[in-house]
């Protein structure tokens, strides 16, 4: 399999960030209190990375994929339990896109990808803790299963 270029890997990460922001819109409304605050903070983190990627890809002269009006969720978000489950899943999936970017990048771009992978993996663990799901961790965060 051909190694994607850094630009392709970051473009794929941007698409994942779009989907994560969309998903958190559905997740946040099913949560209350501290969990809702955590969802807002998570969504804000994905927005920051989205904005940074748009600037980065534009500056590099690459193709910036457009956001879509909607994204298919793996299952309907109908209550707190499904919202927390999806939140953990969104973080793991976004982490996987950044993990994939590690091999295509070096230097500061690899640092950027690693920081995102670590942040999202930790957030997935926090969501499992909030949901009362065990184990709280996976052996290889972001690795396709």
């Amino acid at each position: 399999m051909r190694q994607p270029s850094a630009g392709e890997a970051l473009t794929s990460a941007l698409s994942a960030e779009y989907a994560a922001i969309y998903a958190y819109g559905r997740i946040g409304v099913r949560l209350t209190g501290a969990a809702r605050d955590a969802a807002h903070q998570a969504e804000a983190a994905h927005r920051r990375r989205r904005d940074a990627l748009v600037v980065q890809l534009t500056t590099a002269g690459g193709v910036v994929p457009p956001d879509r009006a909607g994204y298919a969720l793996p299952y309907p978000v109908t209550d707190r339990a499904s919202a927390l489950r999806l939140a953990a899943e969104v973080e793991e999936r976004t982490a996987a896109h950044w993990r994939a970017a590690l091999a295509s990048t070096t230097g500061s771009e690899r640092d950027q990808a690693l920081a995102a992978l670590v942040e999202y993996a930790v957030r997935a663990t926090r969501w499992r803790k909030t949901a009362g799901v065990t184990p709280l961790t996976v052996p290889f965060p972001g690795r396709p299963t």
Binding site: A95, R99, L102, R110, V118, L136, T137, V138, F140
Partner: protein, 175 residues
């Protein structure tokens, strides 16, 4: 250089002691100089290049295998000391063992059957102390894996990235 010093051949050792130098010390210093002089010109000299290549530098992943096994052992000893924590600690111990296994596979070496060294300190007497100690170990280990990931060739970067992230999530799970 040694010859310019007043060694005092054939005299008693009193004078050497007075000057703070023993003959043995001076002689060994001379021997080191000779060795240094003999070795230095050979390196990087085409004429005297040896046929056998110097051994390759150790693979930077090798210490990470040991590090992962040492972490797994630390979790196991804490779980033994505090059985009430076992349900939390055992999955993390297994993750470290899985890391060691995967690193060994990438290196093409057999997985050592035991940790290279027993944990240097016994688990803390109270559970909170044991958890704090494990968090500190994970933090240090996360930093070393981060450095390894930054320096790694492309084909190893994703695996090392997952290990960095795993060590970060372990700290979160121990809170």
């Amino acid at each position: 250089m040694v010859l310019t010093c007043p060694v005092g051949m054939g005299k008693t050792t009193q004078r050497d002691q007075a000057s703070g130098h023993s003959r043995r010390k001076l002689l060994s210093a001379g021997a080191l100089l000779v060795l240094g002089g003999a070795v230095t010109p050979l390196t990087g000299c085409d004429l005297f290049d040896r046929d056998d290549q110097p051994p390759p530098p150790p693979d930077p992943l090798r210490p990470m295998v040991d590090e992962s096994l040492t972490l797994a052992a630390a979790y196991q000893s804490s779980a033994t000391a505090h059985p009430e924590l076992a349900a939390r600690l055992n999955p993390i111990a297994e993750a470290h063992t899985a890391h060691a296994r995967e690193l060994a596979r990438v290196l093409g070496v057999a997985l050592p059957s035991t940790a290279p060294a027993a944990p240097t300190t016994a688990p803390a007497a109270n559970p909170a102390g044991a958890l704090a100690a494990l968090r500190a170990l994970e933090k240090t280990a996360q930093q070393s894996a981060t450095a390894a990931c930054a320096a790694a060739p492309a084909e190893r970067a994703a695996l090392l990235g997952s290990i960095v992230a795993a060590r970060a999530t372990h700290q979160e799970a121990l809170k």
